[in-house]
Each structure stands twice: as structure tokens, then as C-alpha cells.
């Protein structure tokens, strides 16, 4: 019995196509879900109402709910989930470790502090995005500086630098929470940190789209280089590629994507950790199919989680709580599976 590159029985291309189809279906159904339910076919009519001749019987409320409330929210969920899972898959490759996620390089904590600071200072929405983004990138630069100070620049030192910087910004977030007034700002900070797409609109979507597309497209293009980096520093260098340069390029791109996501929807853990594992089970460990598969699976996962978040109870459940509650048991399953079957994948 061979456990070859494609772990599943289907070809990776087909798996990716099926995932994309599922995502499309999930998005259409999700657009109809909520207190004001709209059947999927009608959702399609509404989506195309701008292009096709106006169909009688489409109410303005329906159009508004679908196009202005739910569409930006679901698009934000799609982009956030896709970005997080893509980054997770890339990081796991670069660090040669299937147990790391975007939190490991400290970017999430940095971006979280930026957002917290903005709320503490009663800054505007766009300033919040800017600060989250700026501190996300700053944390990455600090990780880089710390790593450069260490004599032996290996992967472990890099992870350690990430943990240190992450811990540092984590403490600053706590400090900001401690200083925040408990009536108004503390709840805002807490809810923002827990992650939500509830306040998503086209303006925020537009802001996150730039860094997300730049980072995402370049990461996808670098997918085969990630294969080589995953062999380890020495081997990759002996194969003739610039290890440090490529790795930092990938980390900066991940920093871009994660900061943009945190800025818009708060800290959403576990997606970047769990989804790449699921994708690896479906298409195998080769990053050429793995990155696109993770991207689409991440979007699908996030849309479904957001559906749960907004329909399970009358008030919304924060995403960070749901992703952790679901992610932990899924991860346990993956863990047991991979331990039984030897290596994961």
C-alpha cells in the first residue's frame, strides 16, 4: 500500500473544484439564512438583479438584506477564512511543523493590540484598521529584529522570537483592557477581540481586500517554493534557493494577510491551524494543490462558522469562541488520525 502525494482517492484538481462548488453553494444558502429567510433561488435572482432585467416581485427589503447586509458580511467571511487558512498552510510548510498557526509569529497579537489601542483611544473605524495593521507589521519587524540579534538564525529561534513578541503584545492588550473604562470601552475591546463579522460592510471589505489580495496571490505563486523550504534550511539552501530571503518574503506576506483580517474582524484563532490539516487529508502534502485547497476550504469553513454564529442563538456568538470550540475537537480527531497513520497527510 502506498501513501502517495495525493492522500485521498480523488485527484487534487477535482477535490479543489468540488470545494469551490461547495463554497458557492454555502455562500448562496448563507445569503438567505437569518431572521429574514430567503430561498437560495431567490438569492440568485437578487444577485443578478442588477445585470438582468428587473424581476417583478423582488422587494426592496429583500434586495437590501441580501446585497447590503449579508453579501459584504459573507464576502468578508470568505476572504478572512481563505486568508487565515492559506497563511496557516504556508506557515506549517515554512516551519516544517503541522502544529503552527498564524499566531506563532506574533502577528495576531500585534494586530490585536493595535485594534485595542484604537478602541481605547476612541479612534475612528478606519484608524482602528490602520493601527491593527501597523502593529501587526510592527510585531513582525520586532520578531525579525529579535531573530537577527540571535547568533544562530534557525527556525527554533524564529519561533521563540514569535512567542516572545506575541507574549509581549498579549500583555499590552491586557494592560489596555485594564485601563479601559468598564462601561463602554472594555466591552467593545472584548467583543472586538473575540472576532465577529457582524459589523462588516463594503467599506471594511474594501480596506482588507488590498493587502489580502497582494499577500494571497503572491503566497499562492510561491507554493512550490514552500515545498522546498519545508525540507529544512540546509537542504533548501543546497538546492540553490535563498532560504532566508524567501522565508522572510513569505512571513511578510502572511503578516499582511493576517493583519488585514484581524483589523476587520478581530482575532479568529484555530482556522489557520485546523483547515490546512483537513486540506492536507484531501489533497496531500504537496503545497501546489494544498495552498489553493486550504484557501477554499478556509473560506467554506468560515462561512459555515459564521452561519452558526448568527443563527444558533438570538444574539450572535463571537467567532473566536466558536472556532475554538469546534477547532479543538476537530484537531483532536486529526491528531489521533495522524498518530495512528504515522505521519499526517
Amino acid at each position: 500500500m502506498s501513501r502517495s502525494a495525493a492522500a485521498g482517492s480523488l485527484r487534487p484538481g477535482l477535490v479543489i473544484a468540488i470545494l469551490a462548488l461547495l463554497l458557492l453553494l454555502a455562500a448562496l444558502v448563507s445569503l438567505g439564512l437569518g431572521r429574514y429567510e430567503i430561498p437560495p433561488l431567490r438569492v440568485v435572482q437578487i444577485l443578478f438583479s442588477g445585470i438582468l432585467p428587473a424581476d417583478a416581485g423582488l422587494s426592496e427589503i429583500e434586495r437590501n438584506v441580501v446585497l447590503n447586509v449579508r453579501l459584504p458580511r459573507i464576502l468578508t467571511a470568505i476572504f478572512a477564512g481563505a486568508g487565515l487558512a492559506l497563511c496557516g498552510a504556508a506557515l506549517q510548510g515554512v516551519f516544517r511543523n503541522p502544529l503552527v498557526g498564524p499566531h506563532i509569529i506574533g502577528v495576531s497579537s500585534g494586530a490585536a493590540f493595535g485594534g485595542t489601542l484604537a478602541i481605547l483611544l476612541s479612534a475612528s473605524q478606519s484608524l482602528l484598521l490602520l493601527l491593527a495593521f501597523a502593529f501587526g507589521v510592527l510585531s513582525l519587524l520586532m520578531v525579525y529584529a529579535l531573530h537577527a540579534l540571535v547568533g544562530r538564525r534557525n527556525m527554533l529561534a524564529l519561533v521563540l522570537a514569535g512567542v516572545i513578541i506575541g507574549g509581549f503584545f498579549g500583555a499590552l492588550v491586557s494592560l489596555a483592557q485594564y485601563l479601559a473604562d468598564t462601561e463602554e470601552k472594555l466591552p467593545r475591546i472584548v467583543f472586538w477581540l473575540l472576532g465577529s463579522f457582524a459589523t462588516a460592510d463594503y467599506e471594511k471589505l474594501r480596506l482588507m481586500l488590498g493587502p489580502l489580495l497582494i499577500g494571497g496571490v503572491l503566497l499562492i505563486l510561491l507554493r512550490w517554493r514552500i515545498n522546498i523550504l519545508s525540507l529544512g534550511d540546509d537542504d533548501a539552501q543546497a538546492l540553490g534557493i535563498s532560504v532566508a530571503g524567501t522565508r522572510w518574503l513569505i512571513l511578510v506576506l502572511i503578516g499582511l494577510v493576517v493583519s488585514a483580517q484581524v483589523a476587520v474582524s478581530g482575532v479568529i484563532g484555530w482556522v489557520g491551524l485546523v483547515v490546512p490539516h483537513i486540506a492536507r487529508m484531501l489533497v496531500g502534502p504537496d503545497h501546489r494543490p494544498l495552498l489553493p485547497a486550504s484557501l477554499i476550504a478556509g473560506a467554506l469553513y468560515m462561512v459555515l462558522i459564521d452561519d452558526l454564529a448568527r443563527t444558533m442563538t438570538d444574539s450572535e456568538i463571537p467567532l473566536g469562541i466558536l472556532t475554538a470550540l469546534l477547532g479543538a475537537p476537530i484537531f483532536v480527531l486529526i491528531f489521533f488520525r495522524s498518530q495512528r497513520g504515522g505521519r499526517d497527510g
Binding site: 502525494a5 510561491l222 512550490w224 517554493r225 537542504d235
Partner: protein, 267 residues
């Protein structure tokens, strides 16, 4: 004078500045030449190869190569269950743009390299399901696919059975003799050096290095001094083959110990 492919000039490497892995080494390897590196464990053979590849900078002197260097490590483990073909394809990294992926031509070259090493049937298998010897063959195939004019192999036959040892030795001879590649390999098997090398480098204690043709340096006396072992060269005149073997010392020690015990028992 043939074209120099590797030029090592008074080079040395030390991790801490006190203990030297190798030191004050001079060696020039020309195009199409095969050089075997021999020496006891811990004498800096692998460190020397890593310096030539560029994985560590020599602490003293200089090492220059004229062209990219392919490297076959003794062994390595992939963190993910890549297929053998995926691993061999990675040898093509030098030829593929950072934002690109291997194309049809790269895949054809990788498959041809697998066929050369006789493991084309393993292409779709997981690299981590291979035996140590099969992994070695796959890593050699990867280096071959890299199409580097210089090839360094770190104990390429250490995990191979007899048939595959023969295959790899023949392969080395072929890529150097016909392909014009320059090959440096380390080995603990003097016979492997005898079989395929043009010259040998014996890395003795301190910086007592012997470099020369097989006839010059692969002598009983040199090898005995190198390994602190009684070493014998046996010639099979009819096949024109020379073999090197050693008489295990533990046997004579054992005999001596037994003799002493008997001595003690005598009244």
C-alpha cells in the same frame, strides 16, 4: 591542464575557533574527475562537503567552485509525506523561477533521473515509506535532476545493499566519465574509492592530509595509519581487481587475553 571546478585554498573550518573540523587543506578538483574522501568518523569529511556546497563558510582560507553544486546528504527526512517524484522534482529548484512551478520538461527530467537510479517505480510512493537505501537512491536522483556540473555525495552507499552499491558506483563512474561531471564523495569503504575514484583524499589526524592518485595514497601503510588498524590489500591478478580489507583487531586482543588468563592459571 584540465579546467579546475573546485579550488580549495588553505581552507579550514572550526565551529568554536579552537577545535578544527579540517584545516589548511589544499585541493583542486578538475572537470570530470572523481575524488574520494576517506577518514575516521569526526575527521571533518562531511563538514568539508558542506563547506564546498556553501552550507558553512570556511573559517580560514577559501573554497571556490565554478558552477552550481549538487549535494546528496547522507539521509534526510521530509516533514510531510511528499511523493518520491515530488522530492526529486525539488532538485529542479535552480531552474525554476521563485514564483513558478515545475513544468513538463522538469517532470520528464525528474522521471529520467529516477529511471537512471532504477527506482522509476517508486515515483508515486511516499518518500517516508522508503527504506534507508531507497531514500539514498532517491536523493541521488534528485541531485542528478538538478543538472549541476559538480556533484557532492556524503557517504552515498552507506545504506545500500551490494547490488545498489554496484549501481551507485557505476553511476558515479558514468556521470564523470561520460557526462563530464565533477564528483567528490565521502566513504568509509576504501574499496569504493578503489572502484571509481581518480584520486583520494585521506583526512588524517591534525592536518596530515594525503592527496593523490589511488596508487599513490591508497596503500596498506597509509590506510593502516589512517584508521589505526592492520589493513591489507589483496590483488586478484586474473581479474585485475584490488581489494582492501582489515584484519579485525579484537580477535588478536581476545587471543592475547585468553593466553594471559591461561598463563595466570599455570602453577
Amino acid at each position: 591542464m584540465a579546467e579546475a571546478m573546485i579550488t580549495i585554498n588553505r581552507a579550514g573550518h572550526s565551529y568554536d575557533g579552537r577545535r578544527w573540523q579540517y584545516r589548511a587543506l589544499d585541493l583542486t578538483v578538475t572537470r570530470g574527475e572523481v575524488v574520494a574522501v576517506l577518514g575516521p568518523n569526526g575527521r571533518g569529511k562531511s563538514t568539508l562537503l558542506r563547506s564546498i556546497v556553501g552550507l558553512n563558510r570556511p573559517s580560514a582560507g577559501s573554497i571556490a567552485t565554478s558552477g552550481p553544486v549538487g549535494f546528496v546528504p547522507q539521509d534526510f527526512s521530509a516533514p510531510f509525506s511528499y511523493s518520491v517524484l515530488d522530492i526529486v522534482l525539488m532538485g529542479r529548484a535552480r531552474h525554476i523561477h521563485a514564483l513558478g512551478v515545475p513544468g513538463k520538461r522538469d517532470i520528464a527530467i525528474a522521471r529520467k533521473a529516477l529511471a537512471t537510479l532504477g527506482i522509476e517505480d517508486f515515483a508515486e510512493r511516499g518518500f517516508d515509506t522508503l527504506s534507508g537505501g531507497e531514500r539514498q537512491l532517491a536523493l541521488i536522483a534528485r541531485a542528478l535532476a538538478s543538472e549541476c556540473p559538480i556533484l557532492l555525495l556524503d557517504e552515498p552507499a552507506s545504506a545500500l545493499d551490494l547490488k545498489n552499491q554496484d549501481l551507485v558506483l557505476g553511476f558515479i563512474r558514468q556521470i564523470a566519465g561520460i557526462g563530464g561531471l565533477t564528483v567528490v564523495f565521502t566513504t568509509h569503504q576504501p574499496n569504493h574509492a578503489l572502484a571509481v575514484a581518480d584520486r583520494a583524499l585521506l583526512m588524517g589526524e591534525g592536518d596530515s592530509y594525503r592527496i593523490g592518485t589511488l596508487a599513490e595514497v591508497m596503500t596498506e601503510a597509509n590506510l593502516a595509519a589512517l584508521y589505526h588498524l592492520p589493513v591489507r590489500m589483496i590483488s586478484y591478478a586474473e581479474d585485475d581487481v584490488e581489494l582492501i580489507t582489515f584484519a579485525p583487531t579484537f580477535r588478536s586482543q581476545f587471543e592475547r587475553a585468553r593466553a594471559e588468563r591461561h598463563d595466570g592459571q599455570e602453577p
